[in-house]
């Protein structure tokens, strides 16, 4: 598979490792540089998981603070970004669940007043009505991307998230697994299934490898 432009692998970058070490010694400015370096990835991962920019911003900010406080738990020499994105993913999922709970409580209250049954609370994910595109699908705009967008929209949510993190956000496989809080093997199999499903949809729309070049 191709590598996205500017994509990094998991090997720790020397400059980044130096910043991490300085931050571990209490240099807040060094940690600030790490925030600048990784805030885009952190925010977008949080956005994919929460579906709301405001929630994503809060989750990413909170994750950076928690990462700073947990730096003494970070293993020196290991890549920083998967570790950070695991915390970001955790924060984002917590926030999405909290929002789900708030909405569920509101629905129960409304149902109690108006009668009727609130919808199931079994799904703890972000409450995005089926008629509204998921945030990553919505982000893929433009006429030339219509087929990709349509194919992405057909994926199951868990597959779509893996595909999104891996290709739309340009994360590595281990970063994807860390951000989503799933084992690497699970991320790989969901990625495989997601691509297979997209292939079916794209081919049904008439796309071929030659046509796509």
């Amino acid at each position: 598979m191709t590598q996205p432009e500017g994509r990094r692998d998991d090997s720790p970058d020397a400059a980044e490792a130096a910043l991490v070490e300085r931050a571990r010694q209490g240099d807040a400015e060094a940690f600030g540089d790490l925030v600048t370096m990784h805030q885009a990835a952190a925010f977008r991962v949080a956005y994919v998981l929460t579906g709301a920019p405001a929630d994503a911003e809060d989750a990413a900010q909170e994750a950076f603070v928690k990462a700073y406080l947990a730096l003494d738990r970070f293993r020196p020499g290991s890549p920083f970004r998967p570790w950070l994105l695991a915390i970001v993913g955790n924060q984002a999922r917590n926030r999405a669940r909290a929002r789900g709970r708030r909405e569920s409580m509101a629905e129960r209250a409304i149902a109690a007043v108006r009668g009727g049954s609130p919808r199931s609370t079994a799904d703890a994910g972000p409450r995005i009505p089926a008629s509204v595109p998921s945030p990553e699908v919505e982000a893929v705009s433009g006429e030339t991307r219509a087929e990709v967008r349509a194919a992405l929209a057909t994926l199951r949510e868990d597959e779509r998230r893996v595909v999104t993190c891996r290709y739309l956000l340009g994360l590595t496989e281990s970063e994807t697994a860390a951000a989503l809080g799933i084992p690497a093997g699970t991320a790989k199999s969901r990625l495989h299934r997601g691509l297979a499903r997209m292939r079916d949809v794209l081919e049904a729309a008439g796309a071929t490898t030659e046509a796509a070049r």
């Binding site: 598979m1 191709t2 996205p4 571990r24 010694q25 209490g26 807040a28 940690f31 600030g32 925030v35 805030q39 885009a40 952190a42 925010f43 956005y47 994503a56 911003e57 990413a60 900010q61 950076f64 603070v65 928690k66 700073y68 406080l69 730096l71 003494d72 738990r73 293993r75 020196p76 998967p82 695991a86 955790n90 999922r93 917590n94 669940r97 909290a98 709970r101 609370t121 703890a124 990553e136 919505e138 893929v140 705009s141 433009g142 991307r145 990709v148 967008r149 992405l152 739309l168 956000l169 340009g170 809080g181 997209m198 292939r199 794209l202 081919e203 071929t208 490898t209 796509a212 070049r213």
Partner: protein, 277 residues
């Protein structure tokens, strides 16, 4: 017709990603710096090597307190008597302290400029049968003799490094812990000064008071909500979870660190803690 290969689909996705209309990236640096600016004195500075227990792998599943609030009349009656008993008993007290470095085995309490507003409830882990919680060797969970049997139990991690929590649901009209239907939760950790598994962060408006729990050192934390971090890891990634929590008593008994979060007030909470058997 030539089938689309994975590389082609990947390239289409990457191209779509490169010009996708994501929301603008917020500048988080300033806000994060404002949050951590005064906290590094007590946190990563003077760090020690990560000491992650093998086998303590967190995969969050349980969502304590998120289900519908149960009928609590029975639990209320069960709790009423011990609480009345608890109300008449008191507590050792060792003065209000301030500053950094409040410690118990496995726990560091530190002051930070501020804690975030209440958000997600603390994820106590995977629900487990109460019998299983009580059968664990480490942490060995003692129960308060002044209370009825717990209503629920949870576990984070596995093996000797696991964290076990038992909890009691609130009775009718009783105050509940933030984001839950519980009135009391008792978390047990096999504590050691060498292994930090919990960290509490308290803001300027949170009071911390040294107390004695049946002769052992403890800390009573109340006032503004404070935050708790639970550490665990598999050696490569150290997931942590946090929540803003309410009044809490932390103390040790028999090599186990206990964290008793309570909506019942200091006197009752201390009495409950002292009755661990």
């Amino acid at each position: 017709m030539t089938r689309l290969d994975d590389a082609t689909i990947a390239r289409l996705l990457e191209e779509a990603g490169s010009d996708a209309s994501w929301p603008p990236i917020p500048d988080l640096r300033q806000r994060v710096m404002a949050r951590i600016g005064g906290s590094h004195e007590g946190s990563p500075g003077g760090v020690r090597a990560p000491d992650l227990r093998a086998g303590v792998v967190l995969r969050i599943r349980g969502e304590p307190g998120v289900g519908p609030i149960p009928s609590s009349a029975v639990a209320g009656r069960r709790l009423l008597r011990p609480l009345l008993l608890a109300a008449v008993l008191v507590v050792a007290f060792a003065g209000i302290t301030a500053g950094l470095g409040f410690r118990l085995p496995g726990l560091l309490i530190e002051r930070v400029p501020g804690t975030p507003p209440a958000g997600a409830a603390l994820d106590l882990g995977t629900p487990i049968p109460i019998e299983e919680a009580l059968a664990a060797e480490a942490p060995h969970v003692l129960l308060p003799s002044v209370l009825p049997r717990p209503d629920t139990a949870y576990r984070i991690g596995s093996g000797r490094g696991s964290i076990v929590t038992v909890a009691w649901r609130a009775g009718a009209g009783q105050r509940t812990l933030t984001g839950s239907d519980l009135s009391l939760s008792l978390m047990a950790v096999s504590g050691s000064m060498e292994e930090e598994l919990l960290r509490k962060m308290i803001g300027e408006d949170t009071r911390i008071e040294s107390v004695s729990v049946d002769g052992a050192r403890g800390w009573w934390i109340e006032g503004a909500p404070h935050e708790i971090l639970i550490f665990a890891g598999d050696g490569s990634v150290a997931p942590l979870r946090s929540a803003v929590v309410g009044d809490t008593l932390v103390f040790t008994r028999g090599g186990t660190l206990y964290r008793l979060e309570s909506s019942l007030g200091k006197a009752a909470t201390l009495e409950i803690a002292a009755s661990l058997r």
